[in-house]
Structure formats: C-alpha cells, structure tokens
C-alpha cells in the first residue's frame, strides 16, 4: 500500500514537472543554450543579446535535435526527416531560435540561429514610426518620420521653385507694353508679385526651418545611437557586476572560512592546554591516591602491630603478676602506660618514622 502511494506521488510529481514545461528552467536570458544532436551535445548558442549561429555536420543520419538550458530543461527540439530538410522556429520566452536540419544520403547537418528579441528602444521606435505614418503631416521629431518630413518639404520646395521659375520665364517672354494708365488688370497683375515676394519669404523661412529640423534630427539620431550602444553594453556590464559580486562573495566566504580556521586553531590550542592541565591534575590525583592507599595500608599494619603489642602486653602483664606478686608498683606503671597508649595509637599510625621506634619498653 505504501509502495503504491509512493509510486502515485512520484507520478504526480513527474506530471507536475511536465505541465510546467520550459518554465521550470531558472536560467536567465544571458545563459547559454546547449544544442544536442541524437542526444549528444554538439555546442552552445550564446544568448547574450546578439544573433549567433551554430552549424554542425555529422557522419550519421540525424534523428533528433534538442535545445536545453544550462540546468538541463528541454527548451525545444525537432525530429529530423529521413531525407531532406525541415525547419522550425522555437520561441523561448522573448527570443527565438531557428533550427534547420537536413539529412543526406550519408550524414546530415544542423543549423541553429539564435535571434534575440528586439530591444525596448527598437520596439519603441517602430511603434512611433507607425504612429507617424498614420499622421504624416504632423511634425514628428524621431528619426524615421523625420526623413519623411524632409522628403515632403523638399518636394514642396521643388514645386514652388518650378512654379516661380516658370512664372519668371513667362514674364520675360511676354513683350513689353507701352505704359498705359493703370487699369483694373494691372492692379490684378501687381497683386501676384506681392504674393510672390511673400512666397519667397515663406520659402526662405521654410528652408531655415528645414535646416533646423535636419539638425535636430541628426542630434536625435546621435542620441539614439548612443543610447543603443549603452543598452547593448548594459547586459555585459550587468554580467560583469554579477560575476564580480560572486567572486567577492566567494572571497568573503573564504575569509570567513580563514577566520573560522584561526578561531578553530585558537580553540584547539586552548583545548589542548586545558587537556594537558587536566592530565597533569589527574596524574597528581593519581599519585595522591596511591600515596593515600599506601598510608592506609601502613596504618592498617600499624594497627595490627598495636593489637599484637596489646595482646603481648596483656599476656606479659598476666605473667608478671603471676611471677612477681610482691612487687605491685611496676605492673601499675605498665598498666598506666597501657591505659594511656590507645589515644596515641593513631598518631603512631599517621607518623611513619615514629612507627619504627619501639612504643613500649618492657
């Protein structure tokens, strides 16, 4: 039962992993993508924001092409045809990889092209161009629409110039008439001349504006180019910073380990010192114990000796009392000494040199 449950849980985990698909990968956009042909690794695609290509030829027919992230997640793949070629476009989050696999009579070839997603500025510019296209007459300051504005202005200028030149030529070709009193028609002819002058001024104004617009556009283009360069450098800078952080972290860890090593060494030194002191103490305690044992033994011996002496004294006393019934003073002395003796016995036992001296003189 437990085994079945174990298998069921395992099955669920596998299904969960499959449902997550390529989202399981924790690799970033800047990490490498490994290309496998027939389950064998043939190279990597560098996904650091620039278009890269990997080409490989094999002696054997290609069956399967796989793309895997650094953490081994299958990102995409292609089953190769038995003969001929097949292409596939695999979208990875934002970027794209184009795969082309071809099988020949003998062997095959594979080509993988990593196409990074367009940058933010690129997409923004395209979006703005679209807006400008939908509203062409409006003055737009960005590069793509600026070109169109310039072209439109130039066409306008050319038409105006042609009209002016044609007008002048027409004026020159017309025969000079004798001065006539001013008529209504003459008044009408004078009016266009004024308008022409006005138009000329407008044209001058327009060309000045155009020059300014061109200058502005050029400046903006330069700015955009600088921005794009900076954006292109940004991932590599981020990568460098990340790697530096990692290296610093490692160094800090090593230093921590080094500091930990010093502490360990100090602790070990103190511990060994304490241990040696403990050993010395133990040795001293041992020697004291041995001495104490020896003394106890000696004390026991002395007590036994005292007991013997006591017995001998008693027996001697009895003998003496039997032998010398008239002389009563000497035994009394002996008895007094005997009566005094017991309190002295421990002293005799504790003091070794005294024990060798005779305690009682008979």
């Amino acid at each position: 039962m437990e085994a079945e449950q174990d298998c069921a849980e395992y099955r669920e985990r596998l299904l969960k992993g499959m449902r997550a698909g390529i989202r399981r990968s924790v690799c970033g956009a800047a990490d490498l993508i490994h290309v496998f042909v027939n389950h064998r690794r043939i190279g990597v695609l560098d996904g650091t924001g620039v278009e890269t290509t990997l080409q490989a030829q094999t002696d054997v027919r290609i069956d399967i092409v796989q793309l895997r992230s650094e953490d081994g997640v299958l990102l995409g793949g292609l089953l190769a045809p038995v003969y001929g070629f097949r292409t596939s476009r695999i979208s990875l989050m934002r970027d794209t990889i184009e795969l082309r696999v071809q099988n020949y009579a003998q062997g095959g070839s594979v080509r993988a092209v990593y196409i990074p997603a367009p940058s933010f500025w690129h997409r923004a510019r395209r979006g703005l161009v679209g807006v400008a296209d939908s509203a062409a007459p409006r003055p737009v300051t960005f590069a793509g629409s600026g070109v169109r504005t310039i072209a439109f202005t130039q066409v306008l200028l050319a038409v105006a110039l042609v009209w002016l030149v044609a007008d002048r030529i027409t004026g020159w070709m017309t025969p000079v008439r004798p001065p006539l009193p001013a008529t209504q028609a003459e008044v009408h002819w004078a009016a266009p001349l004024g308008e022409v002058t006005k138009l000329e001024q407008q044209l001058v104004e327009l060309s000045r504006m155009q020059a300014k617009a061109v200058e502005t556009i050029q400046m903006q283009q330069q700015g955009m180019a600088q921005l794009q360069r900076a954006m292109a450098k940004l991932p590599s800078t981020q990568e460098t910073v990340a790697s530096s952080v990692l290296i610093v972290k490692q160094e800090i860890e090593q230093r921590w380990k080094g500091a930990g090593g010093d502490t360990d060494r100090m602790t070990r030194g103190i511990m060994s010192k304490a241990q040696s002191e403990q050993e010395q103490l133990e040795a001293e305690i041992h020697s004291l114990t041995v001495a104490n044992d020896r003394l106890s033994k000696e004390m026991t011996d002395l007590e036994r000796y005292n007991q013997n002496l006591k017995k001998r004294l008693q027996s001697a006393g009895v003998d003496v009392s039997k032998a010398t019934g008239s002389d009563r003073e000497k035994p009394m002395v002996a008895w007094q000494n005997e009566a005094i003796q017991p309190p002295h016995t421990p002293k005799v036992a504790e003091a070794r040199p005294i024990s060798q001296q005779p305690h009682f003189l008979f």
């Binding site: 039962m1 085994a3 079945e4 449950q5 174990d6 298998c7 069921a8 849980e9 395992y10 099955r11 669920e12 985990r13 596998l14 299904l15 992993g17 499959m18 449902r19 698909g21 399981r24 924790v26 690799c27 990490d31 490498l32 490994h34 496998f36 389950h39 064998r40 690794r41 069956d63 399967i64 796989q66 895997r68 650094e70 953490d71 081994g72 299958l74 995409g76 793949g77 292609l78 089953l79 097949r86 596939s88 990340a242 790697s243 990692l246 290296i247 490692q250 090593q254």
Partner: protein, 292 residues
C-alpha cells in the same frame, strides 16, 4: 482518502472521460496549437502509455521485476519520452498524437542502449548516482555539481583542478549556485528519491563509511562509462602526456570540464600532473556527498 485510490463513482465517471480523451488522441491534429491543447489535456494518459510501453520493453528483454524500483524506473523513462514527444510533436503536425507517441517510444527502444539498466542502479544509492550522472549528461549545472557530489570539491577547487581561466570561473560559481537553488531538488524529484531514503543513505554512510564509498565508486564507474558516450568529442581518454600538453597550452577547456567530471581515472591522471595548486589538495577520491 489515500492518493491514487478513487471512489467507485468517480472511477465510473473517469472511464468515459478517459475513453473520450483517448479518442481525441487518436484523431488527427492539424496545427501546433491544437497539438498542444490536446496533449496537455491528456498528459496522465500519455504518461501511463509511455510507461506501459517501457514496461513491456523490459519484460520482453527479461529485465522486468514486480517491485517499486522497477515501477519508478518505467515512470521516469515514460516521463522522459513524453517530455520529448511534447516538444517534437509540434513539428510533426498534422499527426495522430497517440500513435506519434508510440513511434517516439519505439524509436528510443530500437536503439542499442535506450537507457542504462543495471539492477544495482535501481537501489536508492544506485538511483541517486544514476540520476546525478545522467542529469550531468544534459545539464551543465549537474555536470559541475558532480565534482562536489562525487569528490567533495567546491567551486574554487574545481577551478583549480581544471585550471580554468578567469572568464570561466564566474560560470562555475553560477552553475554551483543554480544547482543548490533548484537543480538538486529537481533531480531528486525526477529520480523519485524520497527524503527518508536520503536519510537512510546518510545513516549508512555514517555507519559504514568505507564500504559505502567503495560501493558508490563501483556504481559511479558504471554510470560514468555509460553517460560519457553522450559526449562524442570528449569520449576518448587521453594519455598523461596529452593531458599535460592540454593544461600547459591552455586549450580544450570544454573537454576538461566534461570529460574529467565523467572519468575518475583521467581525473586522477590530471591531478597527478601536480600543476599549479592541484597538488596542494588531497587526491580526489569518491566520497559521496548527499547534500548540495
């Protein structure tokens, strides 16, 4: 209710659903989107199908045994085939998904060695080693982590032993970091190794350290010899002179990284050269690390 055990009413309801799903899988799908939709709705059925095909393969080749280890083995390989089918199938439309899966599995099983089967590798220790080395053949993170799990080397020591240059070093640290963050857990889950099994392995290692590591080395050599074939350009072992030349000239960085992780003998040869700081460390020998 115990997971995996359904009440009768829901089983009766599940049967027509299953039949309907099977029917949809047998029909033709015309676009990649339709393929994704149909397949993602029937993943459990397809997993069971791929696992049952693998079980049949093991039975017919005399490698099957009725136990949990074998059940897990076929589930693992079923999931592997299904993952590939899920990716390739999009380029195979129009197709009938169920039969396409059968053909993908059959294609794998028609290869000389569709997977590495060894009875010892079905035990917890064998499964762990097989899982780690097998993962290393498809994942750079797992490959770098092999230096840690097999020999107890850290990122700095890996860089020293392989004599990598400055540009490769941050990548090694990244590989280690990613492995610790997610790679290890995912591999353990894919292998079906439970926390209890890991703890038991740990206890075994503590009690019989020498025997445990000796067994681990034996299995590691089996697994390395099999999975090293995933690197055609890196498969051959080099002579001591060739290794020395490579280290001194500074070429073949990818070769060093892939081959030395998958070849204990060559790792010893490279270490014996005693170049740079490598000689300052103990000679790498198999001491299995059960934590990332």
């Amino acid at each position: 209710m115990t997971p995996g055990v359904q009440p009768i009413s829901s089983r009766e309801q599940a049967m027509p659903d299953c039949t309907a799903a099977l029917g949809r899988l047998e029909e033709v799908v015309s676009t990649a989107e339709e393929f994704d939709r149909v397949v993602s709705q029937a993943l459990p059925i397809l997993l069971d199908r791929a696992a049952s095909r693998t079980k049949r393969f093991l039975r017919e080749t005399g490698q099957w045994s009725d136990d949990v280890a074998h059940e897990k083995f076929v589930l693992r390989w079923g999931a592997e085939y299904l993952e590939q089918f899920f990716v390739y199938g999009r380029s195979e439309v129009p197709c009938r998904p169920l039969f396409l899966l059968d053909s993908v599995v059959a294609k794998h099983h028609s290869r000389p060695e569709p997977f590495y089967y060894h009875p010892d590798l079905l035990k917890p220790l064998g499964r762990l080693i097989d899982g780690l080395v097998g993962r290393a053949s498809i994942s750079r993170d797992a490959l770098i982590a092999l230096y840690h799990h097999c020999y107890g080397l850290g990122p700095g020591q890996v860089i020293t032993v392989l004599r990598l240059n400055g540009s490769e070093s941050p990548r090694i640290y990244k590989n280690f970091q990613r492995w610790r963050d997610s790679g290890w857990n995912r591999t353990i889950e894919n292998m079906g190794i439970t926390e209890d099994e890991l703890q038991r392995l740990n206890a075994q290692q503590q009690q019989h350290r020498h025997r445990f590591n000796s067994d681990a080395e034996q299995m590691l050599r089996f697994a390395q010899a099999h999975y090293r074939k995933s690197e055609p350009d890196h498969y051959p072992c080099l002579s001591r002179h060739q290794w020395e030349d490579m280290f001194r000239q500074g070429y073949g960085i990818e070769y060093r990284i892939w081959h030395l992780a998958l070849c204990l003998d060559c790792l010893h040869t490279a270490w014996d050269l005693g170049l740079d700081g490598a000689s300052a460390m103990d000679k790498p020998h198999v001491v299995l690390q059960l934590q990332p």
